[in-house]
Structure formats: C-alpha cells, structure tokens
Symmetry: C2
Subunit: 306 residues, 2 copies
Amino acid sequence: MPTHFIDQLAAAVRRRRSAICAGLDPRLGSLPPALVGDSPPERPADQAELFRQFCCEVVDVVADKAPVVKPQAAFFEELGPAGMQALAAVIAHARRRDLLVLVDGKRNDIGSTAEAYARGWLGPHSPWQADALTVSPYLGADSLQPFVDWAAPAGAGVFVLVKTSNPGGGLLQDLPAPDRPVYRHVAALVEQLAERTVGDCGYGLVGAVVGATYPEQLAELRAAMPHAWLLIPGYGSQGGRAVDAAPGFDGAGLGAVVNNSRGLIFAYQREPYRSRYQPHQWQRAVDDAARDMLAELAECVPSPPA
Amino acid sequence: MPTHFIDQLAAAVRRRRSAICAGLDPRLGSLPPALVGDSPPERPADQAELFRQFCCEVVDVVADKAPVVKPQAAFFEELGPAGMQALAAVIAHARRRDLLVLVDGKRNDIGSTAEAYARGWLGPHSPWQADALTVSPYLGADSLQPFVDWAAPAGAGVFVLVKTSNPGGGLLQDLPAPDRPVYRHVAALVEQLAERTVGDCGYGLVGAVVGATYPEQLAELRAAMPHAWLLIPGYGSQGGRAVDAAPGFDGAGLGAVVNNSRGLIFAYQREPYRSRYQPHQWQRAVDDAARDMLAELAECVPSPPA
C-alpha cells in the first residue's frame, strides 16, 4: 500500500475501476422517509444521528464502486456540535470500509491558522482523520503552504478551488487579470505545488477543484495543471454530464474523480429509480445510480488499468 | 435593544466606548502555564476543556472593554468534535456576558450548501448562535447571497474577506483585473449588499474584512464601501498599529472594529506585562493590554458617542 496520498487515490481508482467520488450531503428534507419515519426529529442530536446512519449506509453501498467519499462539512456543521460528532463517525466508518475520505470544507486562513486547519483535518493521526480537504485560495500562496507542508508527512492531500461549478463562480474567478482570468493564476500556483509533491502516479498532493459545468475551461485547466489531480463537481443534478467531465481525465483514465452527491445518495427520489424500488429500498437506488454513473463515464473516459 | 445586528454592534461600541474585537485564538503551546500545569494534556477532550476554560476567562476579563469577541474556528476544529463542543460553550458564555460573537470561520460554498452554513451559524436560534460569521468571496455573488438572505431575519451579520492582512494575500487580491485590483471588485459587491441591508446606524448587515497591515488600501476601501462595517485584523502581533487602523473608521468613530488576538489573550508573555505580573495573574495582563489598546486607539480615532 503506497503511503503518498495521491498514489493511494490512484490505486483505489484502479482497484475499483471507478473514478466516482460519492458526495455525502445529508439534508434532512431529502432523507429517505423509510429512515426518518413519520416526522423528522426536532433535536439537532437526533437529526445528527439520522445523518450518521444515512451516510454510513450510503458508504456501505458505494464502498465497492467509489474509491473516495466526500462528506460536505456544511451539512454536518449546520447541526452544531452534534453534527460534527456525526461527521467524525461517518469519516471513521468510511475509513473502516477502506474508502478514502475527502472532506469538503473549503477551509482556509492566514499562516499559522491555516496550519491549525491542516493539523486538525489531515491524515490518519489527526482528530478528524480526513485523507484530503478542499481549501480556498483567496488568501494567497502563504495560506496554502501550511496545508502542503502538513499534507506530505501526514499522508494526505488538498484540493484547491480553481474553477467552481456554480453559475456565479465566474464573478471573481473569470475576471481578466489582466491577460488571463483569475482562475488561471490560481491554476499556475496549484500546478507549481503539485509538481513539487509529485508521487509515483505522476500527480501531486495538491489537486484542484474544477467544475464539470464549464467543460471548455476544464480542458484548458487539465492542460494547464498536468500534475494536479482534479476533483470535478457539478455532475448530475447541477447539469454536468459524463461527456462534460471527460476532458478532466488523462489518456489512461486517471487524473480526476467526478463527484456526484444528490444524484447518487437521493437517487430514490428520481426516475428511473423511483418507479423501480419501494421506499424502503432506497439503498438499491443508490447502488443502481452508481452503476449507471460508472457506465456513463465508461462511454467517454478510458477505463483505468486494473 | 435594536434587533438589526449592525445596530446592536454600533450600540455595543457606543456603550463601551470601545471598538476592540477580542480574538479568541486558543493555542495549546501559548496557554498560561498557570492554567495548563506542568505538562499539557494529550487527549483532545482535555485540551478542549482547557480551551473552553481559557476563553471563558478571557471573555470575563474583556466583557466591559470589548463589544465583540471573535473565536477562531480553526483552533477549536483542530481538536476534533471535542473542540467544537468547546467552541459552542465559549460562544454561549460570551453571549451570557452580553458580548456579540463573530465567528471567524471564513466559510463558504455554492448556493444551497452556503445556506447550510448560514442556517448553522447565524443568529440566536441557530445551533451555534453566532452573531456574525466571516465568509470567503472566491465562489462569487451567488455564494454570498444565502448568507445575506439568512442574516437579516436571524438578526445576524456577515463579514466578507476583501483585503486580508497576510503578506501573501495580494497574490490573488491585488491582481489587476484589468483596471482595478480583484479586491476592489469584491468591495463593490460588498458595498452593494451592505447598502441593501442598511440599519439605523447607516451600516449594513454585510461588512468587510480589511487588514490594518495595508493602511493605504484600508483608506481606499473605507471610501469604496461607505455602508460596510469593517473588521480590521492585523493589529498588534502582525505589525499593524492604531494609526494604521484609524483610516477604517468614520468621522464619528464608528464603522470599524479592530481585532487583537495574540497581543491581548497572550499578553502575559510579553513586556511590559510579563514583568508586571506573576504567571498566575495572566488575566490582569489581558486586562492591561486591552486598556492599553483602547488608549492607543483613542489617540487616532474619535471616541464613539456614548
């Protein structure tokens, strides 16, 4: 087992022949009624227990089809301290199922404070035990460095926001600055950090978040950051398709994972799964949706070598 | 008591005749030995209990000299779930002491996920019960809107990173884009949101983070965002002086709070306080440092009307 995080990720993708990142975005109003019962609980602690149970069951379903899961910190944080305990439990469960855990926290701060985030989140010996964390670049290179410094010895990685999937992301990211957009400046920094931390698989510990909702920029950014593994959000409910995500991969079918959150974990709500299964069979809907996503990706992305 | 957050802040500044924001950045290695004992505990839960105790004591000392405290989420998060419970306890204690609580989390995400952060953190009826939260603008206007929408009914506010205090902040923030720096684009958005949410005091629910370490840009940004209350970090240990922070205030001594973290809470470590007090009197060092900061500010900033 390689200890360099990105080699672990590449190995996990190869082993499962899958580049799915399963996004764990528990939302109370979307949880399967079979789990919630007649009326959702009011106490945050009871809601958090439902989140834990739901996410752990999703983890069990996807464990053989996704190399990595991405819990969204916001939804756990929304429930206060009880939610954070549930997050820790979900991370621990995913690790027991041999999944890599990428926490979507979009954290950052200046120097020594960024270091506190890095120490808290990154690596199997940290309190949260995440394998990787998403970080925001607005505070500049000296705010990213502590994450990079900490990631290597911790056996962990970071994914820097470069070009996000939301409609308004361009307001700042696309500003001409002055000869190229802001996101290209961030990409240049990410590539530099990725190249310096490269593993056996050819990618570095510093990856980039680039949305599937802007396929042209995705191709541009794949070329601009040859050493950065990409986390591609925006697939599914945000409108991105497999063909839109495909430019994020290299010729061997590596170099990217495609995230799917709602489209996977709440698949029971949508067709064809809604008609196919009874409400208490929501896990089978997750399973089918993951298989269907794998098939869609296989049409446009080379299968990674086993 | 006004219910609009920014009017509460203005009233609190007036009542105490103070624009100090006391930054609660607990770091295990800097805690007073009188509190920690011979050797710091190893279990995160025990460390978190020390953080809680230390921050609550700091709150008690500054309660009559600072209108607002700013717990730094990173240091609590660093300890895992136990740290988050300590953070909740510190927030609750500060509220009981009639202090406003601005959580420094630099959070953000896209649309509905940003909403989860807003619901979780903002207002007295949220799980965390913060009065305000710092947020990052990299994801654009549609990522800020959920915070603004939620802040008003919750009786809370948000502070958007505009020009941060760290040396490397300029890498992205100062990029010419193309006719004005990136931070001016963010400032224009903040001013728009502030103007739309203006309270009786003339400022809006959306404020801005602008470092004291760049006094020229601070003056420029004060003028560019006449409706945005400023949170000014970088004073003290980061090199900013009262005279550097002064351009952030309006003619009536309102419109800004100046944060001091290490310089205040760990004052026992530095002169003249180190020589003045015994180790077990670290609270008196905090008290003196707050008084000295008030005196320094009074030399360059008009005293707010009582």
